[in-house]
Symmetry: C2
Subunit: 380 residues, 2 copies
């Protein structure tokens, strides 16, 4: 199988698998136990935290480990809003988010009750004196489009300097490991990441919480993670996450070269193809292509039968009959959205793999279009 769906998940890096296997066998203590077995686990946990923190230019005590990107987004949004419970806040426009967010952000905003979904490029216009939280994805999972988080953060800091209590959360699940993530340079208050998107383990994520940002827990119990996330710490998972970010540095360049080669070849060889989000800054590894006149689902299946994994969009809404809410928000029609396929490249893809992919896409797209025009002839 050739895998070109790295925005859905990534294979675990061999170095990560080895580190986790050693940890699973040897570091089994409960990090909250006071005896030596527990303290050894605690030491590993804190080392992992320091490594993950450093990769994002955060301080270790600004990192809360979670069970993944979805939990990180839940903790950021619900945790921030719940920390304000009891204070007088206008309910109108309390949270402002964009139309291209991941379902975990959109659903959390829905839970909060009072939120507004703005077009990503005009989000600033929707922020008012009542806004407490702005949540904007750093890089989009479907198209790879990158938002100018630093500029947004600058404006939010201005409001804060003028006395408004307002915070910025960014879902960085797709950005981490693909572009430089420096939470201080970005100026965010909360930033979500996930290990399995950076060749690390599943079931492991983190939330950056800038010092001084109020946050209530959303999972209740023991006082783990400095009272911000109850539950016995998944120490081997954190060790895997740390190892993953340590080996992540070379990924960006390599996947970018493959993506550029792939896109140029497809645009050269297949007629009526457009790049979704081409006019925006994009992740270097992601190519979301609109194949006019082709059902994306059919192309995905045809490629799968040739042993190549690509997708119509987010895995977590796969099986849905609805077209991508992200592409609709970017101005595509329902028909266009349903003709769009996402290719996302990663560290272990080779030039040879991508050459095979190009050949397969050219051949499948041609066949699907010929089939369709034959159908049209039969009907007419």
């Amino acid at each position: 199988m050739l895998f070109f769906d790295h925005n859905a998940t990534t294979p675990v890096a061999p170095q990560v698998a080895a580190a986790m296997d050693a940890a699973v066998r040897e570091v089994f203590g409960n990090a909250s136990s006071t005896h030596r077995t527990g303290q050894i686990a605690r030491e590993h946990l804190e080392n992992a935290r320091a490594t993950v923190a450093k990769f994002m230019n955060a301080s270790p005590n600004e990192i809360v480990f979670t069970s993944g990107g979805t939990e990180s987004n839940n903790l950021a949004i619900l945790g921030l809003i719940r920390s304000r419970k009891g204070r007088v806040v206008s309910r109108k426009g309390r949270v402002v988010t964009t139309a291209i967010e991941h379902p975990s952000v959109l659903e959390c905003c829905r839970q909060v009750g009072a939120y507004m979904v703005a077009p990503a490029e005009r989000i600033w216009e929707f922020v008012t004196d009542d806004t407490v939280l702005v949540s904007v994805m750093h890089a989009n999972n479907e198209t790879g489009s990158i938002q100018d988080i630093a500029e947004l953060a600058r404006r939010i800091r201005e409001r804060r300097a003028a006395g408004q209590e307002i915070y910025l959360h960014s879902d960085g699940v797709q950005a981490l490991g693909k572009i430089t993530v420096d939470v201080k340079a970005l100026g965010v208050d909360l930033y979500s990441v996930s290990a399995h998107k950076v060749f690390g383990p599943k079931g492991m994520g983190a939330l950056y919480v800038r010092r001084d940002v109020p946050l209530a827990g959303v999972q209740f119990g023991g006082r783990h993670e400095r009272g911000r996330r109850a539950g016995t710490e998944n120490v081997p998972g954190t060790i895997g996450f740390a190892r993953a970010v340590e080996v992540a540095r070379e990924n960006e360049l390599h996947a970018g070269e493959l993506r550029d080669y792939f896109e140029a070849e497809i645009l050269r060889l297949v007629p009526d193809v457009e790049v979704n989000g081409a006019s925006l800054p994009r992740l270097p590894n992601t190519s979301n292509l609109l194949f006019r006149g082709i059902a994306a689902e059919a192309l995905v299946i045809a490629l799968d039968m040739r042993g190549m994994a690509v997708s119509t969009g987010a895995a977590c809404s796969s099986g849905s009959v609805e077209p991508s809410h992200v592409l609709l928000a970017m101005g595509r029609s329902r028909e266009e959205a349903k003709s769009s396929v996402r290719f996302s490249f990663g560290r272990y893809n080779t030039r040879g793999d991508v050459e095979q992919l190009v050949e397969a896409v050219v051949s499948c797209a041609g066949r699907l279009r010929r089939g369709r025009s034959r159908e049209a002839q039969l009907v007419s």
Copy 2:
């Protein structure tokens, strides 16, 4: 290091470690992806679910995988109560729980707002026509005491038959793998379990949700786990959990023999020792001993220095200066609670290990008491 703190966590079984390592390296797909890589992951996930379900005598679609016991308890309690949002329920006594529960149950009940904490042995007296949820631990983590869940379930079914909408949740985190857990025979509606307490991986748990029991999600996002738990599925974790329950069957008997031997020896060799919870049915692996006149913390440290891991109680409240809420609820004084040490045995402990432990406890307890009486002489 000799490890006698299996109620805090367990070493990962070698069979589990091997299964997880293979899964981490080979089964990396996102179980929600439609392509083959995703579908292979999905198949493994559903096989793991079937194995875990079978071990508890549940149906696979009654099992929701979570990130651990704490999340399972959160999902059970908050999920059930939130599923009733909008219906008219008296707020008084909405949830009834016991004084010996794990912090994750007590904290969730506190979140619900209207709850009552009853003595475990008299919980039935606190259940009223307003009660929607009763949450009672199957086996206690500190003393190992076992509650008569089946009898409670029978009474709750009677109320339900009479028209009351009332459900029973049981925290089975400590029971699983130590005594037989058959959710149908118990008659529970919701039952929480955790993998790392049964020689499985950390960061992995499950909630049994009986068919027809209403449950809202508590983590929002994609529609994973049939809409009951958002977040990319931790497939290698579920594989590890499944392997853990497959190898769990022999644990009970072995740990029970060691515990009985240990307790008999300590009671024979050390004066002024009492077994906490001796009059109640107990987990076979757990021994919670009150050493009169000895600070539990000092005994734990002395044993740790000899390479033996035991604990003063729950790991998740370690470091706390407060005495165990469980022992206080069972009628022990603060002083008695602070003189109590938990020994919990497990599969890889040998008779030789326990002989060493007995010797160390006898010697440390003697030394600590002599130190104390010397102090008393010096003061007088």
